[in-house]
Symmetry: C2
Subunit: 128 residues, 2 copies
Amino acid sequence: MTQPAQRPPLPADFFDELCPSSLLPFRFGDTWAPMVLRCLEGGPRRFSELRVPLGRITPKVLTHSLRGLERRGFVSRTVHADPKRRVEYALTPLGRGLLEPLDAACRWATEHWDELIDAHERGAAVTG
Amino acid sequence: MTQPAQRPPLPADFFDELCPSSLLPFRFGDTWAPMVLRCLEGGPRRFSELRVPLGRITPKVLTHSLRGLERRGFVSRTVHADPKRRVEYALTPLGRGLLEPLDAACRWATEHWDELIDAHERGAAVTG
DNA sequence: CTGTATCCTGAGGGATACTG
DNA sequence: CAGTATCCCTCAGGATACAG
C-alpha cells in the first residue's frame, strides 16, 4: 500500500490534447487547480510527478494550488515514512465529485469552441 | 419591440436564495459574471436594473463585467433611440448556452454544500 | 525530493466623485 | 440614465534562490 506508484508517469505534453483551461470562460479554483485535479484523476501522484505535465508551474505556485485544494477538501496529502520523503497527493471523494461539473463545463466549451474563438477574436478586434 | 421592458424588476435580495457564488470553488468569468448572467436569464435588463439585485457592485465594476461578457460574445448591448438613453443588455444564444454548465456546477455545489462548508471550516481551522 | 523565502508585476476590484 | 475618471489596495502568480 505504501509502495511507490507503478502507474505510468504523466507526459510533459499531457495538456496539449486537452481543452486549454486558461482560455476558458470559467475557472475551478485557481488557475492551475483544474489541471492539478485532472492530473490526479488516474490516481495519487507525487509533487515532482505533478510538475512534469504542468510544465511552466513553479514549485511555489504548485504548493499554493495544492494547499488550496487541500484546504477545501478536494485533495489529500499523505507523507509516507520513506527514506525519500515521499509525499503523495490524491483526490478525495469530494474532489472526484468536483470533476463531474468540471468535465461538463469543458465538454460544453469543446462543443462551442469555434463560437468561443470567433467571439473572442471579434471582441479583441473591436476593443483594439 | 423597442418599448421598455414590462418584466417585474429584480429584487434587491435576488441572490439571497441562490447559491452564493463567491464561496464556490469555481468561477465563470470574473467575480460578478455568473450573477450578471443569471440576472439576464429572464430577459433583457437595463444597466440600472442590474445594479439593484447585485447590491454592492459599483458602476465601474459592473461596466467592466458587462464589457467582458460582451467581448466574449455572451451578452449583447443595445442602445435604443430613446429620450432616456435606454441601454439594454441581453443574453446571446452562446451566453444562454453557458448557463447550462453553470447551472450544473451550482447544482453540484448545492448538493454537496454541507461537505463544502465542513471542509472549508476544518481547513480554515488547520491553517489558522 | 519537497518544498520556503524574497522580490516583483499586473490585474481585479472597491470607494468616491464627476460627466454627457 | 449610463456610465468615466481617479485613487488605492490586495492578491494571484511568475522568477530566482535557498533549505531540511
